[in-house]
């Protein structure tokens, strides 16, 4: 998720524009609205997060009100308007993970990285977030880093996992 690339911003916007144009949307507002979530996924994939100018670009390209775009971004936990680190560490807080000690794992990640939940490390290498049940309850507690799943994680493993990406 959200690889931070060295791609210049203009090229990023060009990629997003190409993606939206490629959807072949008609003029009907409902059709354009229906494409919003898909477009935001792609935008977050390209930019790593959804800053104001990206929100505005999406609103203008899809001819949707900016408020609606923001409404969707702020509604879904997945979307973020804040920059993220190069690697995204997400700790599951679903019921199974929670009862098997997810909070302790979060604390350990926070301590080791020196940041709080939702923040980014000063070197922009890691950001820390939570998830609600990824459907791997048999592996609880679960941590997912950039799409790779770690199961039955213990607090002691936090440092090891971080080391893999440093």
């Amino acid at each position: 998720m959200n690889p931070q690339t060295a791609e210049p911003e203009t090229a990023q916007f060009a990629r997003l524009a190409e993606f939206i144009d490629g959807l072949g949307l008609g003029h009907e507002p409902d059709e354009r609205q229906a494409a919003l979530i898909e477009v935001l996924h792609e935008a977050q994939e390209i930019f790593g997060y959804l800053p104001e100018d990206v929100q505005e670009f999406v609103a203008e390209k899809l001819r949707l009100p900016l408020g609606r775009v923001f409404g969707v971004i702020s509604f879904y936990h997945y979307f973020t308007a804040e920059p993220r680190g190069k690697h995204q560490i997400n700790c599951c807080l679903g019921t199974a993970c929670f009862v098997r000690g997810a909070e302790k794992i979060i604390e350990q990640f926070e301590d080791t990285l020196g940041i709080k939940m939702g923040e980014v490390t000063p070197d922009k290498n890691f950001s820390l977030g939570t998830l609600r049940c990824v459907g791997a309850c048999s592996l609880a507690p679960v941590v997912i880093v950039d799409g790779k799943t770690y199961g039955r994680v213990t607090p002691e493993q936090a440092a090891e996992i971080i080391a893999e990406y440093n």
């Binding site: 003029h27 009907e28 507002p29 104001e52 929100q55 505005e56 001819r63 009100p65 900016l66 408020g67 609606r68 775009v69 923001f70 409404g71 971004i73 702020s74 509604f75 308007a81």
Partner: protein, 898 residues
């Protein structure tokens, strides 16, 4: 069908909700999220009822009626639920009625009162968000927001500004402006619609804070004094002071504005309360305006008019009537000029905005007004807007077009050199080179005919002039038109195809078409386009000039024009002259038999043919083209009488100044852009020392020997009705509450929303052959930029009213020039930088707004600002037919100013 509510049977229609039936029969069901203008929501649960045979409580606002349904609105279960809803809402926000602006006008307070809730039963953590004070006119206090969603619905579905929405989720849900910006930094235009529908005190008017609570004011119905939409509004008045404005909601589907207002209507009336209102007449003595009594001032005006008339003849006097005054007052000024002075030198500012429309459409169709009505926008299949920045200049109607496009699938073509708000949602937006309108319009028509998309049967049956017209199209080949207009051949083809084959097409235009030295030709080209596609005389079609002032249609109808009496009856027709002379009890021989001077030619003739001007509610020293020249001309007059509510730039040059009452202080009728005549009743007592415009005219007339000159609106309307065929069937009683659209020839006639049905007013529609003519002054090497001028959303005309309004002048305190980014880079200018704009006629210093709203090479300056008056720059070259100046194009240069 019938339904039973609380033991009584009521009639109901399929599709109605239980709430609709209850409200129609005066049964109390409270609602918080439902509002008649925002529709069903089913969110707040305040309106729950019990329905026999249906499990659980149902929200009445979404429960559709079924035959023989049995409803109870007052069972213990219903009351308990309502109580819980209110208790939770009260506990979840900071609802302190003591200092709340909405105290007495709050639906949550009403519910709490009716349910006897003194304090909430629950203890909840409330939000602690500071009120958002960033906007000029509106305060957002989210701690009082009950998340009913009315503001979101009305912003997105009624006024179509699409600013407000819900942000976040669950407990954190809040209403956001754009992407969570403070309202003042967002794209909000401050129309105040959200305040009007907010059930609580979360959205309130900043301007009336602490001034009066709802029960302390009287609500008076008035017609908005700004553009030609003719919005019906209520103003709140206490101690004869205007406090705030709301749109009339009752029966609003039948009103021109459907319950909406724009920022000017909402926040543009506090000029009424200004201490600098003129309240004492003034006479120029030793070069200075000095206060005088009414008797002195009227005597002075009358004696000097008499003197000019005696020395130079009646033709040396000119009268400027006003599109901002009532029909009655325009009729009075028309009668004054023709019967008291004996001249046809009477005109008003329609000369500067739509005289080319009147000339162009009267010749081709037989009537110079909008052929269809605004309500029809959503019934069109295609709308073509050209030369109209509708969302700025006719904002409420602009919203209706957006509504038609976004919610009714109407397709929109915008042809405009500027990227207007409508252009942003258009299916096609093409930017023609300024001044190339005849070329692209005729080019499109050539394509339509060559492709066989025209309506030959309609043309054969209802139009004439086909042969010559058809021949004149040959010049306008796609290649030629592309070269002249800058619109590519393919795009011309797209416009032609969409407009001609997309179903019923409506054409809306405004000053971008009219204000050219070939303005009349532009209008005729529009009429041609509508005729060959059979789009006249049909619902949702038409050629529709949007009129820019509250009574500019009426001022024309009343004959405040040099060539016609009221109802467009020609002054050159002896029978007509005799009819008016007889009614007025004057000798027809004393009437002027030739067409008089226009506003623009009167200015030109100052000092020569024209020695005296009587100006009512006009400000040529701001509104006319080439102001440096206008100033020079006005100085040549022997007598300048100005009658106005403020000491305008023109009044400052007057020999005598007569203080008049403003719109809300007078009774009279106004005719809006769709020919709808509406009554405005006096809502305020005029300030001491002012007089009604109709009284002042009558007073001067009396001093000139016309003692019986009518001096009440009723007497004047009676004359209008008798002498004007299209107004014959109107009475004040009939005009309330919804107005009537002329022609309305008899007292049982319902009015005419659509003109030219079955037959054109002139008989056959006239197809006009046209030639391309270049504009009077095109950019050249010395002045390489093209300058266009016009309005902005927050201001109106010469600014004499809107510049005196706190919110409007707060949002837009200074004039700016729009510059394309490429041009800005060339002269090293950023937004906000001082720039100098020069033309062959003048120079102004102003500030740059760098924007791609204008294309490269184009500059745009609004004309409302005296400190950077755009009309010092504009070209006073006139259209030879209508005498309208070319405000929309002249050659200019721009440089960075120190």
């Amino acid at each position: 069908m019938k339904i039973n509510i609380d033991g009584t049977d009521y009639d109901a229609q399929p599709g109605q909700t239980v709430l609709d039936v209850a409200r129609a029969n005066g049964i109390y069901i409270p609602t918080l999220c439902y509002h008649a203008r925002t529709g069903r929501a089913g969110r707040c649960r305040a309106c729950v009822v019990e329905a026999e045979g249906i499990r659980g409580l149902k929200a009445a606002c979404v429960l559709e009626v079924q035959h023989a349904m049995v409803i109870r609105t007052d069972t213990p279960a219903v009351m308990n639920t309502r109580r819980t809803v209110v208790e939770l809402l009260l506990a979840g926000g900071k609802h302190n009625c003591l200092a709340c602006e909405s105290n007495g006008d709050c639906e949550l307070q009403d519910m709490a009162y009716k349910l006897g809730i003194e304090k909430p039963k629950f203890l909840m953590e409330t939000t602690d968000l500071q009120p958002d004070l960033s906007a000029e006119g509106i305060v957002r206090d989210l701690d009082k927001c009950i998340l009913c969603g009315r503001c979101v619905a009305s912003c997105n579905n009624n006024v179509m500004h699409e600013v407000l929405d819900f942000g976040w989720r669950g407990d954190d849900v809040r209403i956001v402006c754009d992407n969570n910006k403070p309202m003042g930094d967002s794209s909000c235009v401050q129309c105040g619609e959200c305040v009007q529908v907010c059930p609580v005190g979360a959205l309130t008017f900043k301007t009336s804070k602490g001034k009066a609570r709802n029960w302390e004011v009287e609500k008076k119905r008035v017609i908005c004094p700004y553009c030609g939409v003719g919005c019906v509004m209520e103003i709140a008045v206490r101690d004869n002071e205007y406090l705030w404005a709301t749109a009339v909601e009752e029966n609003c589907d039948n009103l021109p504005n459907k319950g909406m207002l724009c920022v000017k209507g909402r926040f543009g009336l506090d000029y009424l309360n200004r201490p600098d209102r003129l309240t004492t007449p003034m006479i120029r003595k030793n070069g200075k305006l000095e206060e005088a009594t009414w008797d002195e001032a009227l005597e002075f005006a009358a004696a000097r008019l008499q003197q000019v008339k005696q020395e130079h003849g009646p033709g040396a006097v000119g009268c400027f009537s006003s599109a901002k005054t009532t029909n009655e007052e325009n009729f009075a000024m028309m009668r004054f000029a023709r019967a008291v002075i004996g001249t046809n030198n009477v005109d008003h500012c329609a000369r500067l905005c739509h005289s080319s429309t009147v000339a162009g459409l009267a010749t081709t169709l037989g009537s110079g007004a909008m052929t269809n009505s605004m309500q029809e926008a959503q019934k069109s299949d295609v709308i073509l807007v050209t030369g109209s920045n509708t969302t700025w200049c006719h904002p409420v109607f602009g919203g209706m077009i957006k509504h038609a496009v976004k919610q009714h699938g109407v397709r929109l073509i915008v042809v405009d050199p500027r990227k207007t708000d409508l252009a942003k949602i258009a299916h096609l937006h093409l930017r023609q080179r300024n001044g190339s309108d005849v070329a692209w319009l005729m080019g499109v028509q050539r394509i339509i005919i060559n492709e066989g998309w025209h309506n030959q049967a309609y043309i054969d049956e209802r139009c004439e002039g086909w042969g010559e017209y058809r021949a004149s199209l040959e010049f306008f080949t796609p290649e030629k038109v592309e070269e002249l207009s800058g619109i590519s051949k393919d795009d011309l083809h797209s416009i032609a195809k969409l407009y001609a084959t997309g179903g019923v097409g409506a054409l809306y235009f405004s000053m971008g078409i009219t204000q050219h030295t070939h303005g009349t030709d532009n209008v005729k080209a529009c009429a041609n386009l509508a005729m060959i596609t059979g789009n006249l005389g049909v619902e949702g079609g038409g050629v529709n000039p949007l009129r820019g002032q509250s009574n500019v249609q009426g001022a024309c109808d009343m004959g405040a024009l040099p060539n016609v009496f009221s109802g467009y009856q020609k002054v050159t027709d002896e029978t007509i002259r005799n009819k008016f002379a007889e009614h007025w009890g004057i000798d027809a021989d004393q009437m002027h038999t030739e067409i008089g001077h226009t506003v623009t030619t009167m200015i030109e003739a100052c000092g020569d043919d024209i020695k005296a001007l009587y100006v009512m509610g006009e400000n040529p020293m701001m509104s006319d083209a080439n102001l440096n020249h206008v100033e020079k001309q006005l100085k040549k007059l022997d007598l300048l009488i100005v009658q106005d509510i403020f000491l305008t730039e023109t009044a400052q040059m007057a020999d005598v100044v007569l203080p008049a009452a403003a719109f809300a202080e007078k009774t009279g009728t106004y005719t809006n852009t769709e020919r709808r005549v509406q009554v405005g009743r006096a809502a305020l007592t005029p300030p001491k020392g002012t007089r009604q415009d109709y009284e002042i005219i009558a007073d001067i007339a009396a001093r000139l020997g016309h003692e019986t000159f009518p001096r009440t609106p009723a007497a004047l309307f009676d004359e209008i009705k008798r002498l004007t065929p299209s107004y014959h069937g109107m009475t004040y009683e009939r005009l309330e509450p919804n107005g009537l659209r002329w022609p309305c020839p008899t007292e049982d006639h319902p009015g005419t929303p659509i003109l030219h049905v079955d037959k054109f007013v002139r008989g056959k529609g006239l197809l006009t052959p046209l030639q391309y003519k270049p504009s009077a002054e095109e950019p050249d090497s010395e002045y390489p930029m093209c300058l266009s001028t016009g309005r902005m959303l927050e201001h109106f005309h010469s600014g004499s009213m809107t510049r005196r309004c706190t919110v409007l002048d707060g949002i837009a305190p200074r004039g700016e020039v729009e510059v394309n980014p490429a041009d800005a880079e060339r002269i090293d200018v950023r937004t906000g930088d001082k720039v100098r704009v020069e033309t062959r006629r003048g120079t102004i210093d102003t500030h740059a707004t760098v924007t791609d709203t204008v294309s490269q090479g184009l500059l745009y300056i609004p004309f409302h600002f005296v400190e950077a008056a755009a009309n010092r720059l504009t070209n006073d070259a006139l259209d030879p037919v209508s005498k309208i100046p070319e405000y929309k194009i002249c050659a200019a240069r721009i440089s960075k100013a120190e």
